[in-house]
């Protein structure tokens, strides 16, 4: 019986092996070499845990559609590391220049007071697109906190006056708030750099000023200051808006010293953790008061 069993199994194995060999040569398809490599890397159990039908499908998605590399639950972190290796992605533990989210608007409820009381859908994009305007400036922060809701790290909060500020310690620069802001007011910049024009209004000066007293009015004072500092590349005005050059971050905070609307400064809408907690508490207290009265 033992021999029969061994023979049987050997036969089955032989048939299967021959079958695979033929299949391999016969149905070979030209593909991205990385896909094959990835397929080798992936467990090949086709469990579907990654959301793709097979390991091959996932490999294809990673190689060609830039799918995330850490979806293989079976393989766990080992596989993720290998996939990263194949894809040439570095899973570095620390980034040299920590990036944080920077909010490019200072038009809070004091600077850019809105005459009405918005009570529509509490979501920035919806407020804009449903044309129930929530703030005066058509370039500025809507103030309904879609970025706050989008942050998975609890790193962004609304100030009591309706402008989001970022907790630099918690911010991981994941970019969710950047996507969430319908007016593209949030950008990622290195933490160590701190001179920006905190405005994105393209309105001509008089109109910009009318809707917000912290708007850039394209007065060119900062540009002149930069020129005087022999650094003419640092700041420039285009489309009624001054912008610092972020390809080399050479602009200095001093250039904004004489900014008439204080839109050029270095406050960054950024706070440290303690300050953030204090602000949250203050806003809660004021709200509680409002409820009581």
């Amino acid at each position: 019986m033992v021999l029969i069993a061994a023979a049987m199994m050997g036969l089955i194995g032989l048939v299967f092996a021959l079958f695979l060999v033929t299949a391999n040569t016969r149905f070979a398809v030209e593909t991205d070499p990385r896909i094959a490599e990835l397929e080798d890397t992936l467990p090949g159990v086709n469990c579907g845990g990654c959301g793709y039908a097979s390991c091959a499908a996932y490999a294809e998605a990673v190689a060609q559609n830039g799918e995330k590399i850490d979806l293989c639950v079976v393989g766990g972190e080992e596989t993720t590391r290998d996939v990263a290796h194949v894809m040439g992605v570095k899973v570095s533990d620390e980034q040299k220049d920590k990036l944080v989210a920077v909010v490019f608007c200072q038009g809070d409820s004091e600077a850019s007071a809105f005459p009405g009381e918005y009570r529509g859908i509490p979501e920035c994009a919806a407020a804009i697109y449903s044309q129930d305007v929530a703030k005066r400036c058509k370039y500025g922060c809507v103030g309904l906190g879609s970025c706050v809701a989008a942050c998975p790290f609890d790193a962004i909060h609304m100030s009591p006056t309706g402008i989001p500020y970022v907790d630099a310690e918690k911010c991981t620069a994941c970019g969710n708030c950047v996507i969430a802001c319908p007016r593209d007011l949030i950008e990622l910049h290195p933490l160590k750099y701190d001179a920006f024009v905190y405005c994105k209004s393209l309105d001509p000066g008089p109109i910009a000023r009318k809707v917000c007293n912290k708007a850039c009015i394209a007065c060119n004072i900062c540009v002149k200051a930069a020129a005087a500092d022999d650094n003419p590349e640092a700041v420039s005005v285009t489309d009624n808006l001054a912008r610092v050059n972020t390809s080399n971050y050479s602009a200095k905070p001093e250039y904004g010293a004489k900014c008439p609307t204080e839109c050029y400064n270095s406050n960054r809408n950024l706070v440290k953790k303690d300050e953030a907690m204090a602000r949250i508490k203050a806003s809660r207290a004021s709200r509680a008061e409002a409820v009581e009265t």
């Binding site: 019986m1 029969i4 069993a5 049987m8 199994m9 089955i12 194995g13 048939v15 299967f16 079958f19 695979l20 299949a23 016969r26 149905f27 159990v45 086709n46 469990c47 579907g48 845990g49 959301g51 039908a53 097979s54 390991c55 091959a56 499908a57």
Partner: protein, 192 residues
């Protein structure tokens, strides 16, 4: 046993997913969209039927003839794996359109325990050839039914405000539990 009863039994009363817990992995994994679930269901039904045929033959004419029942698992899994691969290649070669809708689900089926379960169960219950085939079809239909219903529910739940710890597999399992409760209504419909 009447074949109609057998098919109802396998598909509904003793639904593979909801009473035997087989095929849970794809049931959870591929039930996010109705279209995908339906394709998966059809692919599984197809492979199940063929598996039932082939494993019945192997069992009847090789394992029993030669007195080697202990080779059941090894031979079945090898057969299923090669079968799935063969079917995949065959479809890819003959009908690219069909491959697009069904093919991508085929590799997943190898590790679908429902397939192996069909083979084991017909062996264990000593079904005849026709019975085995019908059983395979019924089980496949039952799997399709369960996964499509689940996909419909999950598509709807996509916009629901599910508590975070329950999101994903947990809520899927709870829905499956309630479905299993509902399917209990069919019990006794036919004697298994």
């Amino acid at each position: 046993m009447s074949l109609v009863v057998l098919i109802i039994s396998a598909a509904i009363v003793n639904n593979f997913v909801l009473t035997y817990f087989v095929g849970i992995c794809p049931f959870i994994g591929v039930s996010k969209k109705i279209d995908a679930a339906l394709s998966m269901g059809i692919a599984v039904t197809f492979v199940m039927t063929i598996t039932a045929i082939v494993t019945w033959i192997i069992n009847r004419f090789i394992l029993i003839q030669l007195g080697l029942p202990f080779l059941e698992y090894v031979s079945y899994i090898v057969v299923i794996a090669s079968l799935v691969q063969f079917v995949e290649m065959f479809i890819r070669k003959t009908s690219p359109a069909l491959y697009k809708t069904l093919g991508i689900f085929l590799p997943l089926i190898t590790t679908n325990c429902a397939i192996l379960f069909v083979a084991l169960l017909h062996t264990m219950r000593g079904y005849g050839f026709i019975e085995s085939v019908v059983f395979g079809i019924g089980a496949g239909v039952g799997f399709t039914l369960a996964i499509v219903i689940m996909a419909g529910i999950r598509e709807q739940l996509e916009t629901a405000d599910i508590p975070k710890p329950f999101q994903g597999a947990a809520i899927t399992l709870i829905v499956a539990g309630i479905l299993a409760l509902a399917f209990m209504g069919f019990s006794g419909l036919v004697a298994a």
